[in-house]
Amino acid sequence: MTAAIEVRAVEKRFGNVGIIRDLNLSVARGERHAIIGPNGAGKSTTFNLISGHIAPTSGEVKLNGDLISGLRPFEINRRGLSRSFQVTNVFARMTVWENVRCAVLWATGHRYAFWKNVDSLPEVRERTAQILDDIHLTHRRDVPAGLLTYAEQRELEIGITIASGATVVMLDEPTAGMSNAETERAVALIRRLTEGKTLVIVEHDMSVVFGLADRISVLVYGHIIASGTPEEIRRDPKVKEAYLGEEAH
């Protein structure tokens, strides 16, 4: 079976600085894959490279076997890959409902339609309501996204990401800045919403990572030094040395 995501020999330079060096990553379909690594290792940059936000300097990225490096973000999104952002990135002046609905529109085939009333599209309405219910924001549906609390904005961020029904979902630190209780809730949410999908997640909280992931890749200085099951990663001496330190026990 072809991998959902296949990154081969990708390099990324900003000016003279090589931020990503010989990156190789393979994520199987239906797998929950966590990427961990110290601050500034290049995790978000990796997300940007895969989702088309930035183009690799060299190397290639494949989605379900098709070459996607060099495509624009919306082209990649239309092929079934959706990502969230580490820094909340929503439509601030629009309501929660509008935010999610906009993310539903392309996938339901309405595209740039200017001859349909957006309020009378039953499948759009149902799907939007379902997503809002899933992310526990139904009671906040008419609030402008910019006025939500931080944790609510993070949940909305997840809602927008999964709204299109993408089969490959990438979440960049979805629980960053959340309290323990909020994190627990968010993880349960992520687990439920990505059921049967391919998930790539960047996460600093090790209990979340080891609890959620089928496989883990460790990124250090733009290079993946180890990739394997949580057990393998826990035992890997390079990882212990470079990243986990004493935490590994």
Binding site: P73, F74, F91, A92, H110, A113, K116
Partner: protein, 430 residues
Amino acid sequence: MSTAMTSTSKVPAEAAGGSLRFYGVWLIGIIVLIVLPMIFSSGGLLTSFSLIGIAIVFALSYNILLGQTGLLSFGHAVHYGLGGFAACHMMNAVVSHGWPIPLPFIPLFGGIGGLVFAMIIGWVMTKRAGTVFAMISLGIGELVASSSLILRSVFGGESGITTDRTALPKLLGWSFGPQLQVYYLIAFWLVLSAIAMYALTRTPLGRISNAVRDNPERVQFIGYDPHVVRYIAYCFAGFFAGVAGGLTAINFEIANSALLGAIQSGLVLFSTFIGGTAFFFGPILGAILVTYLQLGLTNLTTAWQLYFGIIFIGIVMYAPGGIAGLLMMHRPLIRAGTLWTVIPSYFVAIVPTIALACGVILAIETVARFSGGDAINLFGIAFNPTSPVTWIAAAVLVVGGAFVARLTWRRIAEAWDRAATVARDRGYLA
């Protein structure tokens, strides 16, 4: 079970109430447009109403760009003007070829003129938003305005292209010679265009335009190309600006280079912003006010543009939501029932604020008329611009008015904060 029943039966009832109110507003608007000339029937007023109607269509088209898609254009009059020229040429062609096209269809050709040009230049223009778009729109505006003087066969040079609206085939016996008939033609197209532009905001494209306005980066990650969204929005704006231009051509029976120049582009930006870009009806209020002021002030003072500038700066600085924003701020207070706690502070502020305004007007007019020596007539009182008495009066009004007005404004802010806090506590979002 019973709760489920009641909750499901409540929803359609609410929706029906909402849509009743919604259609009611539109219906009232249409009725007002119909009866307006019956109440105010003087020729001058009819002309004013006609101009206001055109300005509303133009401002609404501009808000497709500014308010809905977040595109600040300094050259929107290009489409307005080209629509006007297209309409004039079409009218002349109809007459010379004897085509069976009556006058009420002409604004459509104006729209097509605006649209075609938008389709041609829009793709390059909308590649980027923000400053790049603003600068290109300014450049295109200048380019087209200067071309209109050079390409004489199309634009008629300085004198423009003239036409005769009464020479077209009659429709139901209407010749469109009298201003009243032209007014109704404009009102008809105003209603049609306003409904169409409102409907546009409620389509998938309209909502995605809002998303592009708020966050063009994120739009790309939900499957949309912001460039395409901006382009389609630009084409719609160009079309309706062209309709407005076509109406102008019918109204004046002429199209000339002034229609597509920077002054027109500035005025429509001005009207839309003053009215408020965040609500559909904002540009309508702005167009009414600005056209009215423009018609009224030009007769009263040579410094009318200065007043426009002051109003504009005041709105930008103190009420960036425009008139519509100011009005809609009150909605949560009305719902929460706390508006009455704010109203008294408004009344207290009226007198010093008017005093301040009078002082500013007196000062401006003194400077404007100093060398000419014409008297200033302010609310029936004559002031001599060369007399020190006038200068002192202006200074006292400005300084004293500003001092007292600021105190009363602070009281408004405090009363407002209290009322808004109560409203928020009661669950009404400000």
